[in-house]
């Protein structure tokens, strides 16, 4: 059967389709850099939608911090090699501004970055310090800080979100919080998924039916919290309409993954990037990356056969273990695509502390690759692997993003910096 090879060329190839990869493409679009992006977009759907910068500090990650900017200053003393310490505050701020305003223009409004963290509510009834929140969740953070009377509503058949659990864990700090369970309109019995409910709420008739149910469940209370189900592609519109129909203030709380706010981001990126001129190959991983004179050659395969991309520069944003940016083996942690050296504990025995839940975290979770001041990955001799290669996101060493509540911060800020360096190179 005759087939044609597919070849693309770009000024920048972004490898990875997590937050860092997508942020890199957004910043590249802003700078008119012709970009191709490759990776499996699946894991973006795991995000809660919250964009944290820095929420907790080593060594014990005990208290949530209110001022992430002050937190970064502290990090500069205690952990100067943390990726966030290598980027000026103004750049981090601009990166968050550009990222959130891009999302807003594409249909998912976010609060802009501010001076302080806000408290994002979680499905466990805990609070997550975060810099920016989707507009659909903003009312929840405000209602919590004002301690307004509020009902958290969940749905029969929905797993991964229990209003009783949310209330039980928040009650001591939010006395006028109560819970209620209702039935979602027109759902057949059995397990129902937030994704299905969200899509169903894109239909006006479903919104009208749900509005009646919500108004009745709220009683005299004027603020209600729902699991994140308020539409998939026009969440702000769905929320606004439900507010109008019910006369209530409504906010969302992320559910356990797979959570709708993550799927929203994924589908938005997948749809809009190609329209904006990014060559996006969303379901494949790069098999081979070779640097040649003035650029790199990426090779991959999809069900139709080989694809090759020639790019003048490359940003490696392949993440950590889940997405395959790092690989854990018997002999240690490796970086599979280029075999870049990985900073890691001396032996496997030191990967973990004795207790898995140890608040200080585990050494393996700060493993990663080293970069120079231009975010160029370093080779075994401590020199840049290639002048055309940059890295961004949690593949970078010296940060434990889960404990530090800084996953989005590391992704967005380092992507900004890497793209800035790409632009310098291209000029």
């Amino acid at each position: 059967m005759s087939e044609e090879d597919r070849h693309f060329s770009a000024e920048l190839a972004v490898i990875g389709t997590g937050l860092a990869g997508f942020a890199a493409s957004i910043f590249a679009l802003k700078r008119n850099i012709k970009t191709a992006q490759v990776g499996n977009t699946g894991a973006v759907a795991y995000t809660t939608g919250y964009l944290d910068l820095l929420g907790s500090l080593a060594p014990d990650y005990l208290a949530s911090i209110e001022d992430p900017w002050q937190g970064i200053e502290q990090l500069r003393d205690s952990h100067p090699r943390h990726p966030l310490c290598r980027i000026p505050k103004d750049d981090i701020f601009t990166a968050f501004e550009q990222f959130t305003s891009f999302l807003g223009k594409c249909g998912i409004a976010y609060t802009p970055p501010g001076e302080f963290n806000v408290s994002g509510l979680t499905p466990a009834g805990t609070l997550k310090p975060t810099l920016c929140v989707p507009a659909t969740m903003q009312v929840g953070s405000a209602a919590f800080s004002q301690k307004e009377p509020c009902v958290i509503i969940d749905f029969k058949g929905l797993k991964g979100f229990s209003s009783r659990q949310v209330v039980a864990n928040l009650k001591d700090r939010w006395p006028k919080l109560s819970s209620k369970r209702v039935e979602f309109p027109d759902m057949v019995s059995g397990e129902i998924y937030p994704e299905v409910m969200a899509r169903s709420l894109e239909v006006p008739a479903t919104r009208e039916k749900l509005a009646k149910i919500l108004a009745s469940a709220a009683g005299d209370v004027k603020v209600i919290g729902l699991p994140a189900i308020l539409g998939m592609h026009a969440p702000d519109l769905v929320r606004e309409e439900l507010e109008q129909l019910t006369g209530l203030q409504i906010f969302e709380i992320p559910t356990m993954p797979p959570s709708v706010p993550g799927i929203r981001l994924r589908e938005m990126f997948e749809q809009l990037f190609p329209q904006k001129g990014v060559t996006l190959i969303p379901q494949q991983k790069v098999d081979r990356l070779v640097f040649i004179e003035n650029g790199a050659q990426l090779s991959l395969n999809d069900s139709f056969g080989p694809i090759s991309i020639h790019a003048k520069s490359v940003i490696l944003a392949t993440g950590r273990f889940l997405s395959g940016g790092l690989k854990a083996g018997v002999d240690g942690v490796s970086e599979p695509l280029l075999k870049l050296p990985v900073t890691q504990p001396d032996s496997r025995r030191e990967w973990y502390r004795e207790k898995y839940t140890d608040r200080r975290g585990h050494a393996v979770n700060s493993a990663g690759i080293e970069v120079d001041s231009s975010f160029r990955p370093l080779d075994n001799h401590g020199r840049p692997y290639s002048k055309n290669l940059f890295a961004a996101g949690v593949i970078l060493a010296h940060q434990d993003w889960i404990r530090g509540r800084c996953g989005a911060g590391v992704a967005i800020a380092t992507a900004y910096k890497a793209v800035e360096e790409v632009e310098k190179l291209l000029k």
């Binding site: 059967m1 005759s2 087939e3 499996n40 699946g42 894991a43 759907a45 795991y46 057949v188 059995g190 397990e191 998924y193 937030p194 994704e195 299905v196 899509r199 169903s200 894109e202 239909v203 008739a205 479903t206 998939m232 592609h233 993954p257 797979p258 799927i263 589908e267 997948e270 749809q271 190609p274 996006l280 969303p282 379901q283 999809d302 069900s303 139709f304 889940l322 997405s323």
Partner: protein, 425 residues
């Protein structure tokens, strides 16, 4: 006679044989993105995550007998959204193959038997001579009644033609006038094309019935027929699974095919871009709105974004950009309508409509008056769920709208037009 029982399959062992080196169903994180995004979740108390967990736990007996495998359309959306790219549809195909023929849904089995029964490879059993007759008969009628097309051709078995054109049996069998718009399009662009009296049919339910040998035989007949006529392109008309079964089959069975497999949608787009099909949207003065259904078989499972983009280009050219509303989600992330995988033939109407509810909601959310889709199974299912859930939309073929836009749609070719579209002629 004792009733045949379904043998128990060792799913884990089979999965390990199927997967490329280094891949593993054990990579499943149990996150549930697959189930959350699957319209078959909940049917027969099963979903993709449960299926894979049960396979990994060795619950082979339960899985071997689960009827859910006939409600899964093997649309591969689960794999598409899976961060670990786990392909569950392979296991479903295995499970289907494992059922004794007597136990399989009779409608799918019968369709496959009919495909095997003649050289036409038609799931409706239309023999070659009848196909040749119908084509000739309809052609003569058009030549007589539509002076503009008095010299139109519908070549049969023309050696060395550029395009070998297939045809879904539904047209010659039940609605022969629906072939005419396509012929007119070929006539206008001056395409060098031919039908074949052998292996002309598009559909292939043998794959869906889990009968691999029959699937191979059908593809062999089709490949031989194209090779025999020496055509450069096997052009798949507005039918989704025919493309996938052919493309996947040629690779799977290692067949020698001296031609390219292409979709008609790609050519619609190309001919419009080249000015050979001078369509426009001037006719749509009332701003009638349209959405498109991306058939899984040619978008997610095959060409991906390029054909999805072509489909939108063609649609916008035909109806006007402002009158096109995309379904959400769309392209490779689109939901299967529930007409695929042999579901329409499987006799499981209630399940099929439950499955289709999500498609109905997607369409309702667009508020569009019409759905355009280049796939017969999508077409039938979307019509059916529209009636069942009391929707107010219509479903049209691309060829109909192209000819409408060109002002050449004959009177007998307007079956799928509602009063609003009829007024635009």
């Amino acid at each position: 006679m004792t009733e045949k029982t379904i043998p128990t399959l060792n799913f884990k062992e089979k999965a390990e044989e199927l997967l490329p080196e280094g891949a593993s169903f054990e990579a499943c994180l149990t996150c549930g993105l697959c189930s959350s995004g699957c319209p078959a979740s909940g049917i027969e108390n099963m979903d993709p995550r449960k299926f894979i967990r049960m396979a990994m736990l060795g619950m082979d007996k339960e899985l071997s007998t689960s009827k859910w495998i006939w409600a899964c359309t093997q649309c591969k959306r689960c794999q598409h959204v899976c961060p670990m790219s786990i392909d569950i549809s392979q296991l479903v195909f295995l499970a289907r193959s494992n059922w004794p023929r007597e136990k399989k849904p009779a409608g799918i089995v019968r369709s496959c038997q009919l495909i095997q029964s003649t050289d036409s490879t038609s799931a409706m059993g239309l023999p070659p001579e009848d196909f040749v007759f119908v084509v000739q008969d309809v052609l003569e009628e058009v030549r007589e009644q539509q002076p503009k097309f008095k010299n139109m051709q519908a070549p049969m078995d023309k050696k060395g033609a550029h395009f070998f054109v297939n045809q879904n049996s539904r047209e010659p069998m039940s609605e022969p006038d629906e072939m005419v718009p396509l012929w007119k399009i070929f006539d206008i662009v001056g395409a060098n094309w031919t039908y074949s009296s052998k292996a002309w049919a598009a559909e292939n339910f043998c794959m869906f019935s889990g009968n691999e040998e029959a699937w191979r035989e059908v593809i062999k007949k089709r490949v031989d027929a194209v090779n025999e006529l020496g055509c450069e392109v096997w052009l798949n008309t507005e039918c989704g699974h025919s493309y996938y079964t052919m493309w996947n089959g040629i690779n799977r069975f290692g067949m020698k095919a001296d031609f390219k497999l292409e979709s008609l949608v790609t050519y619609y787009a190309r001919w419009i871009r080249e000015g050979k099909l001078p369509v426009n949207s001037d006719w749509n003065r009332k701003n009638i709105t349209f959405t498109v259904q991306d058939p899984c078989m040619i978008v997610r499972k095959a060409y991906g974004e390029s054909i999805a983009e072509d489909m939108r280009f063609v649609t916008k050219s035909l109806v006007g950009e402002e009158n096109f509303i995309d379904m959400q989600p769309n392209r490779s992330a689109n939901y299967c309508c529930g007409g695929g995988g042999g579901f329409l033939q499987a006799g499981m109407t209630e399940h099929r409509r439950t499955y289709g509810k999500r498609k109905f909601d997607q369409i309702a959310a667009t508020g569009a008056s019409y759905v355009l889709t280049p796939c017969h199974n999508c077409h039938s299912q979307i019509e059916d769920i529209g009636h069942h859930y009391r929707g107010s939309y219509g479903v049209v073929h691309f060829w109909t709208l192209i000819c409408l836009s060109l002002g050449i749609l004959g009177e007998n070719e307007r079956t799928y037009l509602g009063p609003d579209l009829l007024e635009c002629i």
